[in-house]
Symmetry: D2
């Protein structure tokens, strides 16, 4: 059985997902595309796919069983609501939406529908290294997690396009989401500290140090460096009561030469997370084929929105800014309990 998918938005990430759905993964076919730039949609459409004029038409088409949203963030809310209204499973690239109010509207609609339909594009949860790390923590042999040290380093960001807010409302969401998932916890507050700036970043506020407070009391410190030059370097270490668990180095040839004994570092997120993206869609296809969704949910997208908002407030105030989540609908699982 083959899942018939429509793709909204055929920019860089949309094209990459079309390639993935067409050439890499089994059990799926791209039957429809749409884009605000009709020409781009025509170019990106794989053989046999229909090009629709509007997202709504695509979502409503009987030929489309499930939807992939790769449009820009401000358009997501309307498209998500349309998918939910049509009862169709939908994969939505991050950000889920761009405001708390919008997140709540999407959540209310999905809860009213009564079944999960939305998967948000937090691909790290599908990465083998993170999954093995979580399995170690969940295994319990190291005791409860107390501290999580997350490092998020980009070789560079596009000058002019990437602003000083983006470490906090764009980059941080990955660390925040993976922290919530690894620790099985919710974030209750955010602090931001701004160290000496890197001269590489010109006027950019970079690096940034973020502290995330959680319901359990575990603390997360996040180093965000977006102009480190040498590569895309994602690290994570969880200090537990009885030991410590960390992400490994990426597998790379061990070279001994006049630079020392060394291993290459990934250049960018595409190289680092290529398998995670594939796996993310593999699981989405399986769930969508059952008319539902698993993985990162609307609730997770809502949490990310609140954390980003709090981080932006925190960098201004210098204080601990609270993250106040509404009660967790049962659709999204059991709420995190406060530690005794």
């Amino acid at each position: 059985m083959t899942l018939r998918v429509g793709v909204i938005g055929t920019g860089m990430i949309g094209q990459d997902h079309i390639r993935r759905l067409t050439q890499v993964l089994s059990g799926v076919r791209v039957v429809a595309v749409t884009d605000i730039d009709q020409g781009r949609a025509l170019t990106a459409a794989p053989e046999g796919a229909e090009v629709f004029d509007t997202p709504q038409a695509l979502i409503r088409s009987e030929s489309v069983q499930a939807v992939v949203i790769c449009s820009w963030g401000p358009a997501h809310e309307e498209q998500l609501l349309e998918c939910i209204s049509a009862g169709k499973p939908v994969f939505c690239e991050k950000p889920l939406v761009t405001s708390e109010a919008a997140a709540i509207r999407v959540m209310d609609a999905e809860v009213a529908f009564g079944r999960r339909l939305v998967q948000v594009g937090f691909m790290r949860r599908f990465d083998g290294d993170y999954r093995r790390l979580k399995a170690v923590i969940d295994g319990g042999t190291l005791g409860a997690p107390l501290l999580y040290h997350s490092v998020h380093r980009n070789a560079s960001v596009p000058e002019g396009l990437y602003t000083s807010d983006m470490p906090l409302n764009d980059t941080l969401v990955h660390d925040a989401d993976i922290s919530r998932w690894l620790l099985d916890d919710e974030i209750t507050g955010v602090e931001v500290r701004v160290p000496r700036r890197s001269l590489r970043g010109k006027d950019l506020r970079d690096p940034t140090l973020v502290l995330l407070h959680t319901v359990s009391g575990a603390l997360v410190d996040v180093e965000i460096s977006v102009n480190i030059g040498y590569g895309y370097d994602i690290r994570g270490e969880v200090s537990c009561e009885e030991g410590v668990a960390s992400l490994p180095n990426r597998p790379a040839t061990v070279i001994s030469d006049h630079h020392g004994i060394r291993q290459a570092i990934p250049e960018d997120w595409r190289e680092r997370f290529i398998d995670a993206y594939d796996q993310e869609f593999r699981e989405w296809i399986a769930a969508a084929g059952q008319g539902t969704a698993t993985g990162p949910s609307t609730w997770d997208g809502y949490a990310a929105t609140l954390v980003a908002d709090a981080a932006l407030r925190a960098v201004e105030s210098g204080h601990l800014e609270p993250v106040r989540m509404r009660g967790k609908p049962a659709l999204y699982g059991v709420p995190v309990a406060v530690a005794a």
Copy 2:
């Protein structure tokens, strides 16, 4: 376009390949299966696949575009010749065949056909770690490869079923093939040295140390330990003129606890090479869709057969046993030149 595949042999490895072709990979469909055990074939056949009485009938069927051979070794020659006669691309699990004469007959048939049709199941060539290692060597910055140290350790082998010849005619072929491929070289002779036996292996001749001599003069030493207990540990290190390149540890959570700072080792070859198997078939599907084959060839299967034969002679004689290959047909690429 979807490749329609017939699978011959539905034992453990056949079933795994059916799963792979059905659930993991895109652009392919298993339309036919056959097995000497008809009941097993019926059970293994995916939805919509026809069960054939004989390999010949399957190969000749118009519904089958390409063939996967997972039968036992002695049956391979006839099935391969049938595929070549039918002009159908074929993936053949190792061993290609079980004698030098058989290898030559298959090679002659393929050469006469005039186009590559056969891919042999040396999956290591599709593993990311080996591919990156080869890219470093081929890049040339380390100079010519002079020594290759290959380590092949199995946690255990089935007692009674695995004999003292099998390190040399079953296990070694992987190291021999990957050596030829990494070094872009041919093996000219084999020596075997038998150290003190491991008490874990009871009557088994284990471990074994093998030396492979090559056309270029590079030397390969291979440690084969098939009862090491702790895991499936595959290592490789190439000493070149200007530096050294090695396979990395497998990615695994770095745990610091009372056992030290540590990373898990794969349990077996399934865990170690799961991605390589997928990639092996991904590339086979692409080539088979074009009516041909890439990757490990009949020539490579022939070389493996000669090395295994020489290794068995060498363990008896204690001497360097020559590997004498026929001239390389142009179909299989440029012959390895003797170094100046």
Copy 3:
């Protein structure tokens, strides 16, 4: 030429230094000891050493050229002032003194004397790993240091004797001192965050997360875990503008067995810093032989006292507590300039 040394305090650390000065190092001889427990002094005294009734008598003795203070903290001020008054080089175990006022009195005396006489026992500065790390940063190829992540983990602490203040006024001083030294910077403020407690520590506030703010704007985050069970694990990573430099794992046999591929972790600080202690005294002997001192100075001891005080305030207030240092006397080198 052999340096004649008197040792004040013959408890555990005093005995260890007597062993070091007697059996390990060249160019030095322990000629005098004293202790409030006269019997312990008699036992600890090496062959030929005189046992003095009081620290003052030992310091004033003509046979003593230089002094090692291993008494308890509250006694240090008087003994240091006596050494300075006698113009004798002195090695003082940490803490230098136990209050800011005392530190200033010692500093004033040394400045009035006009030559450095005091070396404080911050042994990490003599550790090969830290020295190589500093050399990399000072080399400048990685650009300016922006963030320093320091991890200080003890297997356990003596229950009942080690209180919740001690991570901040006893353990933290090592991280604070090494941060100042590595970054060539001064600390301007301290924040403390208290995550979920480890159940291993019973009533102890453990772990603790500390943020140190510096003159240059570099930020230091310190994880202090004093009950981690698995070993004594000291880590450090400096994020610079162009790259990152970290302490390596300690050299330990790489074992591959059923626990994985692994290396042992030091059990305690004795094992971890044994070479650093030797080197610390080697350099002290060399300088004392010249009638002066190098290495960690009274200024560094003063800074440590202020940081500890600020950390204790910060854990109560929850705020950034400033560290306000007096002007740096020229005797202690060039003051750290505020970054442009």
Copy 4:
């Protein structure tokens, strides 16, 4: 109590040992030196040391309690015999002597004297990494050692001075000695294989692959590369029945930059084994102070001589060349038993 030492030979290594005995180690004093170049001896002599005209005069001097021999190899036999005749402990740099017959004469003299007096300069046995490796093997948790893989890489050797025999009669002795010690075994035969030469080495036979056969049946393969360019890289891995134990990387700052994540490799043997040399003499001083010797013995020097001779024969013959040792005198411990 201070050991009064006389040093014979004040070339590079002699000067380094004088520095070590004078400035680094405790309990020892260099009271006498001699050299065939009297001027060099005068320059190298530390304050207060007497310069002797001949080795014999130095050895016979009442002021000298123990002797360090750093002269060239052919002079060792006579000087060792003189020391034994005088009943004085002696440290002798490798090679012990330059022929099997000479080794036997020294051994006979020492045995006749009835107490060990000679320590040979195999410094690797004093290196922390090797000692920890041996402790793991001796601990027995990994079972019996079956294979030892030894890698000996030099960045470069002096062109013209270093000949093609020297990997076998000069470099190999370190690997041979450490193999005997690690495995608690004796070498019974040597094979040499010569791979493709490195172009870096011009006319030099480099690299070389050596197989050492042992009494227990364990096999040792040694890679000797003396022109690898990138550094001095000493590795060792022991495959045992239940697991594997290896030397770790040397501790070096972990740098992440555009060359990857990397650690420096030692430049040469001085850097690599600096601590081992110190420890070697520390233990020699302790034993010499008791009028005897521990560590590598005349027996070990004799074994090294036989292995070097066999290796030179083996590279010519292409065959397994036997190493036939005489019966082991009780003075040198228990003989290695043949494995059941």
